[in-house]
Amino acid sequence: MAYYDLVNMDAPDRKTASILGFKKIFSKKELPVVDNLGYTGRCILASGEAGMLGRGLRRNNVTGIMINDSELIRMAVEEVVDTEKILVLPVHGITCGETRARLRNIYRMRGLMATATRSKAKIALVTMAEDESCMLSALQMVEVAKFIGATEAQAKKMVGAIGELE
């Protein structure tokens, strides 16, 4: 199975990506994460507003969404399932945050994961690393996915899901 990742910086070279176990690591230039609907190219929409997420999901250039507000999980997941877009879950909040924020993020991500897997939404797990130290290998991504509530098979699928956008 081929694994992919998305980082919030310039992507490392192909050799490093392959050593880490990824077929490709998308950079922020290849697949930008935006917080408004003004961007016309292919992108991932990150928002905490229900209205904006709803409008974004109906746009063709928005390939996936990132939810910033845990109150919106159920509504957004239902719409993601209907539109067949990808729910992108960044793990840098778990692996890179300071202790108190990390515990909150783990709790939030577990809730998100449970809701999303129950609704059979398409989930992509990415690091969204802002520097080299926050990156993870594919093996670690699978373990993190299992840690937040996915089964082994689901975890592997999630780490490869962003590759559909290649």
Binding site: C96, S133, L139
Partner: protein, 106 residues
């Protein structure tokens, strides 16, 4: 009957060069913080070899390698600076890791 203990070997790549022998205590302390004392003692991870300044090997009790891989995901501090530790490969023998390390070390 004495049961033979079995281990797994985990090849780890650091984002920056570090002296694994000198950093063992720091990395172990960080791992213990994230894994908890019970999980840490069950897994009993220790650094057994260093191939290059960035590549080294952890030895861990078989069945607990998942905990080590997850624990290493949280370690972001080693060698006095921000460093990421990526698990590249796991194996039942150290020899096969050496072969793989030789392929990727350049």
């Amino acid at each position: 009957m004495i049961l033979k203990r079995k281990y797994r070997y985990v090849l780890v790549l650091a984002s920056k060069e570090l002296d694994a022998a000198r950093e063992t205590n720091n990395i172990s302390a960080e791992l213990m913080r994230f894994m908890g004392e019970v999980s840490y003692s069950e897994a009993n991870p220790r650094i057994v070899a260093q191939y290059t300044p960035k590549l080294f090997v952890f030895k861990v009790n078989r069945g607990h390698e998942g905990k080590l891989i997850l624990g290493l995901s949280f370690v972001k501090q080693a060698g006095g600076s921000k460093t990421g530790l990526y698990t590249v490969k796991t194996s039942g023998t150290i020899k096969s890791l050496l072969i793989y390390a030789n392929q990727i070390k350049d």
